[in-house]
């Protein structure tokens, strides 16, 4: 404020003014350095590859995704099962960017059209990657994925052409099917809040998983709830002792949607999705 008044000329005042100017300059430099320093802090979680996030379907490769996402959350708003959440500032540059925690709430393609991709204003989520962004051949699916829920429709496929990850039986020993065990009751217990679409209940209205109990001789939850045709099946596999076990086996059409991870009744899940992992035969 002092700088705006006209100097009254006496030498003492002038010196004070100059001193204030110098202080102001110094303060400004410190402010500049501080803001820049803080803004680049966001690089730390990115550089240390803190945790690889499962992005919504159709996400560009991570570097492109971080560059192109405008952090508006429109994908969050259109998702019928509220699978998409936004990251917090502990994820640095990833703050405000969408991710999916499949174990809590997986994307089950309830929307049929992959709404989040339609909603994205910047092309961070796409049906088909444009030629100018990075892509990996192992992420592309061989054939247009058939959505079981609309298998009888004239057009049974999803527009999506790439997977966002791949399911993997991480703990075969814990898998109920491998142990030859059945399953009775709601898949994740009565308190689980996750929702899912069951076409036999209502094609357009997802219901709570806890409201849809199962009674299975042999647990095949991951297979029977998988929304994509031919992505997973139970196959007889011989163990070391030559004993036959029915084992969930992931096939090429898997898109990495994470439904199997969400429904898996053992804790922690026997089957998990590896985000950004491609198919290798």
């Amino acid at each position: 404020m002092t700088t705006e008044k006209k100097p009254a000329a006496p030498t003492g005042v002038v010196n004070k003014r100059k001193l204030e100017e110098r202080r102001k300059f110094l303060r400004t430099m410190i402010l500049g350095a501080a803001v820049l320093g803080i803004s680049t802090l966001g690089y730390i979680p990115v550089a240390s590859a803190w945790r690889i996030r499962m992005r919504p379907p159709g996400a560009l490769e991570e570097a492109d995704f971080l560059a192109s996402c405008i952090k508006c959350g429109q994908c969050v708003q259109v998702c019928p099962v509220q699978a998409i959440k936004l990251d917090d500032i502990d994820h640095g540059f990833g703050v405000g960017m969408p991710y999916i925690d499949s174990r809590k709430q997986a994307c089950d393609f309830s929307c049929d059209a992959v709404q989040c991709i339609l909603a994205c204003p910047t092309g961070a989520l796409v049906y088909k990657k444009p030629p100018y962004v990075a892509s990996r051949s192992e992420m592309k699916v061989a054939n247009p994925p058939i959505l079981l829920a609309k298998e009888k429709d004239p057009e049974p496929t999803l527009n999506l052409r790439e997977r966002s990850g791949l399911a993997r039986l991480a703990r075969p020993d814990a898998c109920l099917a491998v142990q030859g065990k059945g399953f009775k009751g709601p898949a994740r217990g009565p308190d689980f809040k996750g929702i899912m679409r069951f076409t036999e209940v209502d094609r357009w209205k997802p219901i709570r998983l806890s409201d849809h109990p199962f009674d299975l001789q042999l647990c095949d939850l991951c297979v029977r709830t998988c929304p994509i045709k031919g992505a997973i099946s139970l196959e007889p596999v011989l163990d070391k002792e030559g004993k036959k076990h029915m084992t969930p086996t992931v096939h090429e059409p898997c898109l990495g949607c994470g439904v199997c991870e969400m429904v898996c009744p053992v804790e922690p899940a026997a089957i998990v999705v590896d985000p950004r992992k491609g198919w290798s035969a």
Binding site: F25, G42, L66, A67, I70, K71, Q77, P121
Partner: protein, 323 residues
């Protein structure tokens, strides 16, 4: 004319307002300045009368209602699923039309280095909107951080009055430096670096999608503004403000100053977020009888509210000629 715009941009980028020499004043302005010298007693009487008729806080009320309604519309569009204004302030859809914040769009374009049609459409819509409405009008009429900051500012001003804290100013040019640096960082790193610390995006998302740790950063900023430097983020850092400032250079909507009505009390400069745009109200400075306030003005209307003599008013350029 071109000179006027250039001066307005120069001041916005951090330059000190140029003092026009008295010899360059228009005849009308000279006359008004001349009469103001003598009629001191009359002015005192006029001042008191004007004060008595002053309407208080009209624009403040209108602005806060607008700001809160817009942000509430974002919130209810999601929570009640009425889908009128979907998204957050960085990018949204209003009844299906793309709206994209100019600065966020710029960051994304610079980081990603590719522009898709939707991004271009949304940016165009917002550009035209704020071109009509005054550029930095976004800051004071929409930005949720502005709302928090102006309330923090009240507290700061109160504490300054009580001599508990003092205001530490910075060189305003640093905002221009930040604007360039954030653009460069987006290009070089390929990340939208500014978006990570932008309190505008953080507050907007917190309102719509629920609070998170990121609000801690916003709280730190507000504390800095309360206890150390008045309106520091908006005045010295925010590149969003500068981006919209550029849009406002040629905007028809602006605050206009009428020299004849002014009592040169400086009340307007005390409440202004960007007092350098009101340099012309200082006694003996205005080179013309009426002049437009520069691009950096956020069109918040605080000066209009506080002016007891109607020397400042909103104006739409050209409308005066037509009417």
């Amino acid at each position: 004319m071109a000179n006027k715009y250039w001066e307005s941009v120069r001041v916005m980028l951090g330059g000190e307002p140029r003092r026009v020499d008295a010899s360059e004043f228009t005849e009308e302005a000279k006359t008004i300045h001349f009469y103001k010298k003598d009629e001191k007693q009359d002015f005192e009487a006029l001042k008191l009368e004007a004060r008595a008729h002053q309407k208080k806080g009209v624009w403040l009320k209108r602005r806060w209602v607008t700001l809160l309604s817009i942000n509430l519309l974002f919130v209810v569009s999601f929570w009640l699923d009425i889908q009128i204004l979907e998204g957050a302030l960085t990018a949204s859809r209003m009844l299906g039309f793309h709206l994209i914040d100019l600065n966020s769009a710029l960051q994304v374009m610079l980081a990603h280095k590719h522009i898709i049609v939707n991004l271009l459409i949304g940016t165009g819509t917002v550009f035209v909107l704020w071109l009509m409405l005054g550029g930095r009008t976004f800051c004071s009429w929409v930005c949720p951080y502005h709302f928090l900051a102006e309330n923090a500012e009240r507290l700061h001003v109160y504490l300054v009055e009580k001599k508990k804290v003092s205001d530490h100013t910075f060189h305003r040019g640093v905002r221009t430096v930040f604007w360039v640096l954030f653009a460069l960082m987006a290009i070089i790193t390929g990340y939208t670096v500014f978006e990570t610390i932008s309190p505008v995006g953080i507050v907007s998302r917190a309102l719509i999608y629920g609070p998170g740790l990121a609000l801690g950063w916003v709280v730190l900023l507000l504390l800095f503004e309360v206890f150390y430097s008045r309106r520091a983020w908006c005045r010295y850092v925010c590149p969003i403000g500068l981006t919209y400032g550029f849009v406002g250079v040629f905007s028809p909507l602006h605050v206009t100053y009428k020299l004849a009505n002014c009592h040169h009390e400086g009340e307007c400069r005390k409440v202004c977020e960007v007092p350098h745009v009101l340099d012309c109200v200082i006694k003996g400075r205005a080179p013309t009888a009426q002049l437009d306030i520069g691009a950096d003005c956020t069109r918040c209307g605080m000066c209009i509210d506080v002016c007891p003599s109607g020397a400042l008013a909103f104006e739409i350029k050209g409308l005066r000629k037509i009417m």
